[in-house]
Structure formats: structure tokens, C-alpha cells
């Protein structure tokens, strides 16, 4: 008797919860009578991402008056990863959502949580490199959000012109430039550790150099045969981070600064180099109008000038969770087809300033691209000029890298120690993913 009433109460409680979830999820949703559908689209709260989402929603609605798209935002970084995973696991995800491709995409168990898109017409139109980053278990799950971009050093061309410097091809050249910049009273390297993700670029953006030294690194790394701490080329990224700190090349407020502060410092010419992801140029131009032409880009230099090249990130993806069904699912697929079409590319190019090629066949960049995009192009055109970042070649990316790089970059921890700590972090992630050999 007791058990039964407890059970009944539990059932009642669960039903109430479920009903609550239902009504929350269907707020302002489909109205079947008029054939009108409202889709919710979750994007991260980056200035550009929101702009991109809203422009896409607007242009798509103009073409499909029956479908309205509401853009919702979430935090970026680790907090956003957590939110995505939680919402997916509780079946409470928005109808369509934008999220990283590559290793983070692999970590949300696509085969269980996402709707496969191989049968869609646009699947054939996607760039193969991109496709590989949103494919799991042989099935395609995403459409590209924005274009390819790079993790490299944005530099102030006015500072370079004034001090008569050349774009460095090796790390030693880079450090020599830094010494001259420092002597001129300008901060050579900008770091912004309040936005912890920005601290990772010397490591992640150095991957073209790692691959140049050892083309098999991604496979060995995934199979637990290669480590950051014991592979000299991979360790170099951590060492570079320590070197720029130890040499006193960082901006004074590196520990308290945020991305926007760093962009402003770069735009104003108070800092010369900012290792960062190239799409932030669009934010730099929006916040500091008139400075776009001053800012150029070069790859993070390695030891060898001959293999100098760019580390490239694949676009993020737009995905449909399995919780989207019926009329909404059809509408969501339509939206993805729009995103992955030349019209969608045009819409995205109108919203932000693209810095790299789109991942859809038939899409072209607008003629008035930024200097950053112009500087990237030769590397992308050259067959050996660029490599995808490690997170697109291996499913494992340790979640604590940004804290570790902050420590190494602030002089709290030595490079070798940081790399070893990161190897442990990687091990945890590999075990969580259930990979063989860990």
C-alpha cells in the first residue's frame, strides 16, 4: 500500500514535470491550423554568431513566410558545452542549434542525439574537409555555420610599417621582432586571460607545425601513443607561451583583460601581435571602426621557415536534435538546406565579415574582404600551406586546456609541467569517450 502510493506520487510528480517541460518547450511553437511553424535556434552569445543567426533567420523567413525562426543565445566555452549536453540529455534542446564541429561535436554523442542528414540534397554540396568534421559513425549530421577560419596571429600593420619589420617565418624571427617592438614602447604580444579560451592559441594554432614535424601525430595521439609532453613539436606551443611571458612581452593587464580589451589594444597600435581566431576581426571592426585595414594576419611561426603554414578551423555546424519531430523537423531541414546554399552564404557574408572560404560548393566570398582574409588566402590556396587543427583530426580535446594555458602563460606553471598536465586531461576525455587503448 505504502509503496503503491509512493509510486503513484512519483508518477504524478514525473508527469507534472513532463507537462511542465512540454509547455515550456512549445511556447510560441507550431500552430498547425495555419501551417505556420516557429523554430527555435540556439547559438552562442558571441557578437558575430548572434548577428549571423539573426541575419539567417531574417533572410530565411523572407523566403519561407510560413516558418519563423527565433534566435536564442547561450554562453560560449565550457559553460556552453555543459548547457548543450544537459539540454540534449534531457530532450529539452531547441529545434535547431549551432555548435562546434570536430572533437566537441563527437563529445555530444551525435548518433544518439542528432538527426542524420545524408538524405538531404545539400549533403552533396558540402566541402569534404568540413563533412569529415560533422560525421560520426559514417553519417553526416551538420550544415556549415560560417566559413573556414584560422588560429593565427593578428598583427598591427601600422606598427610593422613604422618599425620597418618583416612578417616572421620562424619563431626566432618572431621573437626578434618582439624585441624591437618592445624597445619601441609597444606591447609585443597581447594576451587576455579573463576570457580564458583566448589563452589557447599558441598551443592550438601551432598545430600546422606539429603536423609538419610528424604527419602521423593525430593518429598516434588518438591511439594513446603520442603525448604533448614527450613530442618536441607539440611541446613547442607550451614553450612559446612561456617564453613570451618570461621575456616580459605581454601587455601589463594580461591577467585582467578580456577579448574586447585585447582587440582594442591591437586596433589602437598599443599592442602589436594578438594570437587569436581570425573571425574576431569582425568584432574588432565593429568595436573600433576604421581600423580594419591596419590589421593583418600571419600563421604562428614554427622552427622551420620552409614549412611555415596556417592552422585552419572548420566551420561550426548547425544540427537538428532528435527531439525535433513532425512539421518542425521538416522546417528545420529546410532551414539547414538554406544555410548550406549560395543564398545562405550570401546572407552570412552580409551579416559578418567572413575571413575564410565557405564550406559549400558554389559559394564565393564577397569582393570587399578584409586584409585578414586576404592574408589567409595564399596559405589556403597552397596545397601544403594549411592544416586542419587537431580537434578536427582527433576526437579528443582535453577540457582543461584553457586553464592550463592561462597558468603557463601567466608564469604560474612551467611549459613542460603544463604539457604533462594536459596529457592527463586528454586521458580523462579519451576514457570518457570510451576509446580503445586508454
Amino acid at each position: 500500500m505504502k509503496i503503491r502510493s509512493a509510486g503513484a506520487l512519483a508518477v504524478a510528480a514525473v508527469t507534472t514535470l513532463a507537462l511542465g517541460a512540454c509547455s515550456a518547450g512549445s511556447l510560441g511553437s507550431s500552430d498547425d491550423k495555419g501551417g505556420k511553424v516557429t523554430l527555435s535556434l540556439l547559438v552562442d552569445n558571441g557578437q558575430d554568431t548572434v548577428k549571423l543567426g539573426e541575419q539567417l533567420a531574417k533572410d530565411f523567413a523572407a523566403k519561407n513566410p510560413d516558418i519563423t525562426i527565433k534566435v536564442e543565445t547561450r554562453p560560449a566555452g565550457a559553460e556552453g558545452d555543459n548547457l548543450i549536453k544537459t539540454r540534449l540529455s534531457t530532450g529539452d534542446m531547441t529545434d535547431v542549434f549551432m555548435y562546434n564541429s570536430g572533437s566537441l561535436f563527437q563529445a555530444i554523442a551525435p548518433e544518439k542525439n542528432l538527426v542524420p542528414l545524408d538524405d538531404q540534397a545539400f549533403a552533396g554540396q558540402l566541402d569534404d574537409k568540413f563533412k569529415s568534421t560533422v560525421t560520426a559513425g559514417g553519417k553526416l549530421y551538420g550544415a556549415p555555420w560560417g566559413g573556414f577560419f584560422s588560429g593565427a596571429i593578428l598583427y598591427n600593420r601600422a606598427v610593422y610599417a613604422k618599425l620597418n619589420l618583416q612578417v616572421p617565418k620562424t619563431w626566432d624571427d618572431f621573437m626578434a621582432n618582439n624585441a624591437k617592438i618592445k624597445a619601441a614602447g609597444i606591447d609585443p604580444v597581447i594576451q587576455t586571460y579573463q576570457d580564458t579560451w583566448t589563452s589557447q592559441l599558441f598551443v592550438l594554432g601551432d598545430f600546422h607545425n606539429v603536423l609538419a614535424a610528424d604527419p602521423d601525430f593525430p593518429t598516434k595521439y588518438t591511439n594513446n601513443q603520442a603525448k604533448y609532453a614527450t613530442t618536441p613539436a607539440a611541446l613547442a606551443g607550451f614553450q612559446h607561451l612561456q617564453q613570451v611571458h618570461d621575456a616580459g612581452y605581454l601587455n601589463k593587464d594580461f591577467a585582467a583583460a578580456k577579448l574586447d580589451d585585447g582587440l582594442k589594444e591591437l586596433a589602437d597600435g598599443k599592442g602589436a601581435h594578438y594570437p587569436i581566431l581570425s573571425p574576431v576581426i569582425s568584432q574588432l571592426i565593429a568595436n573600433n571602426p576604421g581600423h580594419g585595414g591596419d590589421i593583418g594576419l600571419f600563421p604562428i611561426p614554427g622552427d622551420n621557415a620552409a614549412t611555415n603554414g596556417l592552422t585552419v578551423w572548420a566551420p561550426a555546424g548547425v544540427y537538428i536534435p532528435t527531439s525535433t519531430t513532425g512539421a518542425k523537423l521538416d522546417a528545420a531541414k529546410k532551414f539547414l538546406a538554406f544555410v548550406a546554399s549560395p543564398e545562405g552564404c550570401a546572407s552570412q557574408a552580409a551579416a559578418t565579415t567572413p575571413t575564410g572560404p565557405f564550406a559549400v560548393k558554389g559559394c564565393t566570398l564577397p569582393a570587399d574582404v578584409t586584409q585578414v582574409a586576404k592574408d589567409m588566402q595564399p596559405y589556403i590556396d597552397s596545397p601544403t600551406g594549411s592544416s586542419l587543427a587537431l580537434e578536427f583530426l582527433s576526437p579528443i580535446k582535453g577540457p582543461a586546456l584553457e586553464q592550463i594555458t592561462v597558468e603557463v602563460g601567466s608564469g604560474i606553471r612551467k611549459a613542460a609541467d603544463g604539457a604533462a598536465l594536459y596529457d592527463q586531461d586528454v586521458k580523462k576525455q579519451a576514457q570518457q569517450l570510451g576509446l580503445q587503448g586508454w
Binding site: A6, N82, D253, Q403, V406, E407, K428, Q432
Partner: protein, 307 residues
């Protein structure tokens, strides 16, 4: 904790007054307890038992795999954990100690005959009412090394303030001080209640005997406010051991791992999708808090009975 204290003291008296060794008959029929028991079971008992199970699994978004004690092994190998444990203890002891001392001093001030006593009492209590996250964000702005009000103020009198939250040496201490600022109101309130409840006869008797103010404080107020001290220590120690929100709002455990406490280490594991691992961490936190607070509470309460 306060209720426990009272309960333990009153029990022997009531037990001897009524028939000993025989439980008093409950005025309610058993079914009366069912709703509360069901809610308690569903919302507290089952999750607690389940968490012990899930701490033994590798738990991803949808499935979990039983892996024995691997999570505990991983958790204890976590380099951030050892420093996190130390930080937690430092934080808990520091905030708890300062709250006891400052709370006692403020309470003595606020029970004296000063003007606007009621107003001043509420002013001390205001920070307790403000949302922790709000306090954290406000102080993050105030403590900015370059543009923050605190360092600008120090600058005008010629002191170069440190990077309160960005210097690894000070980050944890800065957060602890903000915690004290926010929490001392509650400690003061408990002490005020404790001091006010001391019978005036003792104070009068002391005065007649010619006791100095220091003696009154040392021999009367301090020992007789002991229940308040016990409550403040236990409450603030538990609060300090499991503190998370203020630290997360102000430093996110940073720079790097230098202000990580157990709770933020656990949260980071959860954030990274290591659900089994973070559950194991919570079990560890539960055991640590119990291991520290249970003996402490016993010890402090026993002393009180002896008085």
C-alpha cells in the same frame, strides 16, 4: 545546528520528566506521514542512493558503464584536487575565523547603547540579503587591477594595489574577504541574539563586584555566548567548505587553478561532461564535510554541556 543544540540539551530533562524508556505515542496515524515520506524519498533518498551508484560508473549523456572505483582513482589523481582541498580548508578556516571574531566585535558594538542602533544593525545585515552572484560580479569590477575603484582609491594615496583577483597569491584571499563581508551580518545577528539572551543579573553582579569591561567580556559574555559561537563556527565552516557560487562568479577558480576549491573542481568535471567523475567528487565532498563537521560539532557541543 542551533536546533540540534537545543534539542540535545532539552532531551534528558524531558525524558526524565515523562516515563523513561518508553516512546511517547504519536498523535498522528501512519498514513499522515506518507506524503512527506514520499516526497522525501523521491527527492532526497533515491537521488542520494543513486548518486553513490553513478559515482561508480562512466556516465555520458545517455548511458553509463559500471567501472568500479576508477572514478575515485581518477579524482584523487586530479592534480587540481590536492590544491583544491588545501584551498578549501584555507578558505573555510579563514572565513569562519574572521566571521567569529568580526561577528562578535560587531555584535558587542551593536548591543551597546549607540545611536541609530536598529539602523546600524540592518546595515550590517544587508549584504546577506544581496544575491551572491551580484556581490561577486560587483567586487570583480571593484577589484579590477587597472580600472577598479579599490586600486584607483589606493592609487590616490600613493599605494600600488595588487591584482586582487588576477595575482595567484591573492586571488583566493580576496574572494575569502568578500565572503566575510557578505556573511558577517549573519554571524553578527546570531551573536546579538546570544548576547541579548544573557541574563542582566550576571552583568549587574559583575559590576557590583567591580569587574573591568574586559573581565565582563572574558568571563561572562564569551562563555555564555558559547552556543552562538558554536552555531557561527559550524554554519560558516560548512558554508566555507562547500562554497562555490562566490568563487565561480569572481575567479572561476582562476587564474589557472590557483583559487579552485573542491566544489569548483567538481563543477568543472561536470561541465566537461564527466558526470560519473563529478558525482564521485560530490561523494568525496560529502565525506570530507561530514568528517570535519561531525567531530567538530560533537566536540563543541560536549564542551557546552560541561559548562
Amino acid at each position: 545546528m542551533a536546533t540540534t543544540t537545543i534539542h540535545q540539551r532539552s532531551r534528558p530533562a524531558s525524558a526524565s520528566a515523562t516515563t523513561p524508556r518508553k516512546r511517547r505515542h504519536s498523535p498522528y496515524p501512519y498514513w499522515f506521514y506518507l506524503p512527506a515520506a514520499a516526497i522525501y524519498g523521491v527527492l532526497f533518498l533515491i537521488p542520494t542512493v543513486l548518486s553513490f551508484y553513478f559515482s561508480l560508473t562512466r556516465w555520458s549523456i545517455f548511458d553509463s558503464k559500471f567501472i568500479g572505483f576508477d572514478n575515485y582513482v581518477t579524482f584523487f589523481q586530479e592534480p587540481a584536487l590536492v590544491s583544491g582541498l588545501v584551498h578549501t580548508l584555507v578558505y573555510a578556516v579563514l572565513t569562519s575565523g574572521l566571521k567569529v571574531v568580526l561577528g562578535m566585535l560587531l555584535a558587542i558594538l551593536l548591543t551597546s547603547q549607540i545611536v541609530a542602533r536598529g539602523y546600524l544593525r540592518s546595515v550590517v545585515f544587508f549584504p546577506v540579503l544581496v544575491s551572491t552572484i551580484g556581490v561577486g560580479l560587483t567586487f570583480t569590477v571593484l577589484m579590477n587591477p587597472e580600472r577598479g575603484l579599490i586600486n584607483q582609491a589606493l592609487d590616490t594615496i600613493g599605494i600600488a594595489g595588487p591584482g586582487w583577483l588576477t595575482d595567484p597569491r591573492y586571488a583566493l584571499l580576496s574572494v575569502a574577504l568578500v565572503d566575510v563581508w557578505k556573511g558577517v551580518g549573519l554571524a553578527t545577528l546570531i551573536y546579538i541574539a546570544g548576547i541579548v539572551s544573557i541574563p542582566a543579573e550576571y552583568l549587574e553582579a559583575a559590576r557590583v563586584d567591580g569587574a573591568s569591561p574586559w573581565h565582563v567580556f572574558r568571563r561572562i559574555i564569551l562563555p555564555l555566548a558559547r552556543p552562538a559561537t558554536v552555531t557561527v563556527i559550524i554554519l560558516s565552516l560548512i558554508g566555507g567548505l562547500r562554497s562555490f557560487d562566490l568563487i565561480w562568479a569572481m575567479t572561476r577558480g582562476g587564474p589557472g587553478f590557483t583559487s579552485d576549491v573542491i566544489a569548483s573542481v567538481i563543477y568543472k568535471q561536470y561541465q566537461a561532461g564527466f558526470y560519473g567523475l563529478s558525482t564521485a567528487g560530490n561523494v568525496v565532498l560529502f565525506l570530507v564535510v561530514t568528517a570535519i563537521v561531525l567531530p567538530l560539532s560533537r566536540f563543541l557541543n560536549r564542551k557546552e554541556v560541561e559548562l
